[in-house]
Symmetry: D2
Subunit: 130 residues, 4 copies
Amino acid sequence: MPKINSYVDISTIDREAKKDFIDRHSPFISCESTAKAGQKFPVTVRVGNEYTHPDDPDHFIKSVSLYNGETLLAEANFTAGALGGQGQKGQAEVTFQIVPTGRKLRLSAIAYCTKHGLWEGTPVEVAVEE
Amino acid sequence: MPKINSYVDISTIDREAKKDFIDRHSPFISCESTAKAGQKFPVTVRVGNEYTHPDDPDHFIKSVSLYNGETLLAEANFTAGALGGQGQKGQAEVTFQIVPTGRKLRLSAIAYCTKHGLWEGTPVEVAVEE
Amino acid sequence: MPKINSYVDISTIDREAKKDFIDRHSPFISCESTAKAGQKFPVTVRVGNEYTHPDDPDHFIKSVSLYNGETLLAEANFTAGALGGQGQKGQAEVTFQIVPTGRKLRLSAIAYCTKHGLWEGTPVEVAVEE
Amino acid sequence: MPKINSYVDISTIDREAKKDFIDRHSPFISCESTAKAGQKFPVTVRVGNEYTHPDDPDHFIKSVSLYNGETLLAEANFTAGALGGQGQKGQAEVTFQIVPTGRKLRLSAIAYCTKHGLWEGTPVEVAVEE
């Protein structure tokens, strides 16, 4: 099994290079904290919060997967160059529209960097109202 | 080669069922008509404009691919159930953030329905300004 | 983070239903134990060893990913129906041809079931000879 | 819609560079000409028949999709480096095991090169026997 790196609150980390390394690889989920059952609900996943990641052919963010509990909801595959290309940096970002059912969403995201492997971010819970 | 169905302006079509069939399978690109080079530029692809598509396990919109000319920029894979599930209908939708380079984007999108195959929408040109 | 289920040697398990559940979801890697650097090397991943998995629209093996250490080598996406469809059972299987570099491959595989989530199998080491 | 390049029998082409260009990008399907209904049936797709393609980070074969008529059966995503990496050449290759139903398979494959876009090969028909 490949190692899955986990986001750690970078305010607890001293070394600048390490803050940058962790932040720029971690998928951050943003969405409202409550959703309406049966209505479109946008969920954005962005890789990197305060820092940016290279978009080089041999080093880029290749994919983001969004799960609800154990269930895959959607995934995005990115290509090198779509964030400016060689020498540029950016934050891979995608917004999915999902339609929640049930009482609660337990969202989590995984990103894959072609050099530094799999990264999981902080999960997010969303209350689903009738 | 699988057949690739092309969007046809549904206002030119008489039969309601055919309007619905074409519209609900076609990927519609929406974005600004001009972009700034080197800056994030959101591009939304939604499958279905006036009509909605089933989200049944054996019949759903599985993927959307976004191209710039011949180059794949990004693709999204959806799972059955993410738009409400069996018996529900909806419009698969994703927003990619890309960073344009060059003078022009020639965007096109392809959607795949698990029952009705590949569909291309109307291409969109975007002027890229310095 | 979605839970990742790990293969457990089913000979250590008493309950038949549990043996079946674990085996039919786990990706099994088969390949030679040594490879030649720079030459094609086939690696097969099959989901299920002694047991078979449903191929129903709402319950099938959707993907298999093959890693070398932390690096994704290749992935296969399957569609419901390709193993016989509703009411049938089978073992999702794919063979990738890779060309090894370095001294050693540390292969691992992850499978995704649309009902029972992510599963990792037993990793396999391959010596790479000049 | 991105252009989809079609394989042309390279024996009809004079210019060596063009033969190479067409051959190394085209997906070639190989399988038996008849299959047994309900039994595993291996289908290999290899990109390049007589020629090889670069495996550079900015220029490699990224994916192969296998269709039966209009229906996607399976797809493989490859990563740069899995065929030897920068400066090496090879043929992306994958073998899918499918279980045919119906009377006939009408197989076709599409490959995607990160520099030269989409390519379709010659379709293959397979008789399916009880």
